[in-house]
Symmetry: C2
Subunit: 204 residues, 2 copies
């Protein structure tokens, strides 16, 4: 592709490095910035540069943080005795945005996967054990993806913790809200029937 301008070409190539952005979309973004006042581009590049240089990771839970401790761990109204264990930051904010969880989190940084060579040492599992030892939480909610890797990680942590004073729970599995039975896979639907609940409890 010829752009007739080195400046445009460099900017297009910069955008192309982002996930899911091709040459045409990148050019559209560059031309959009050119059409807007110079300040738009200044604010755009400054907030991204600032984010990258100033971001930190929470010393307690590995969440993305603006300081040493993330805003959730620093919040005195969050229940410290309830730790929700998640794979990554995306899952954390997905749960956070449900508005249904008032405890704190622990990011593992991945899931155990012998096939991909990811063992316990690559994840923040030791840090989780230390934290449990120190803070003595009442419950660990294992909010990991319902995959083989997720289940393996839950099983592994469950065995390591092995403390009758700490409840280890997993998020409920069943048919999705608004999902149609016809398109639900058989394993999920089968388990949803076996683990049926009284209607009053479902509506809580």
């Amino acid at each position: 592709m010829i752009y007739t301008s080195k400046l445009i070409e460099d900017a297009v190539n910069a955008f192309c490095k982002l996930p899911g952005i091709g040459k045409k979309t990148a050019l559209r973004m560059v031309l959009h910035l050119l059409k807007e006042p110079e300040d738009t581009t200044r604010i755009f590049t400054e907030s991204i540069a600032k984010m990258r240089t100033e971001i930190k990771f929470c010393e307690t839970c590995n969440n993305i943080a603006d300081g040493q401790i993330c805003s959730i761990c620093a919040n005195p109204s969050r229940k410290k005795e309830l730790i929700c264990v998640v794979e990554n930051f995306r899952d954390l904010i997905t749960i956070e945005n449900t508005g249904q969880f008032s405890g704190v989190y622990h990011i593992l940084g991945g899931l155990l996967s012998p096939l991909e060579g990811i063992g316990p040492d690559q994840l923040y599992i030791n840090q989780l054990l230390e934290r449990i030892h120190q803070d003595r939480p009442k419950e660990l909610i294992m909010a990991l993806s319902p995959t083989i890797e997720g289940d393996t990680t839950v099983y592994y942590i469950n065995k390591l913790v092995n403390d009758p004073a700490i409840l280890i729970s997993g998020i409920a599995r069943g048919v999705a809200f608004g999902g149609e039975l016809e398109y639900t896979d058989e394993i999920t639907l089968g388990k949803a029937i076996v683990r049926r609940l009284p209607v009053d409890m479902l509506q809580q």
Copy 2:
């Protein structure tokens, strides 16, 4: 949406201002930059900031330029007697990437559209007339979109120039290469039949 970090939130909002980027895609880009070394973000933001502050517009043809004159006007091997008139920079590089044109360009900056209140004064038409007067080109190729606005602009410029020494041509219209006749609109197909060419000429 809650991001638990002001830095992340600002960066997501910055990406969201770009065309076609929603919150989820923006977050994906921010997390991608976080995963890469800091240098990736530095190069990314610097090339975009540089593009915006240093870009200029060619004094001759209004093309985007790294200096006072764009790389096409500055190229001595481009035929100055052949001016291709285009609506905008996107159309210019689309034509440039066909590799079929060895003349120079003139960007109008839009098309005449009485309905949208765009008259000759909003476009670089006077500048085109001055250029014609000064450089005495042999031919103007009107490479504008085949729409009412495009045709109006071609007609208007054709009337203004009104010089038997200057040929004013339009790009060929017909069925697209690789297109199926069944899906070609009737006007295009009808004109393509009326303006049929000997097979030897089609293969040139």
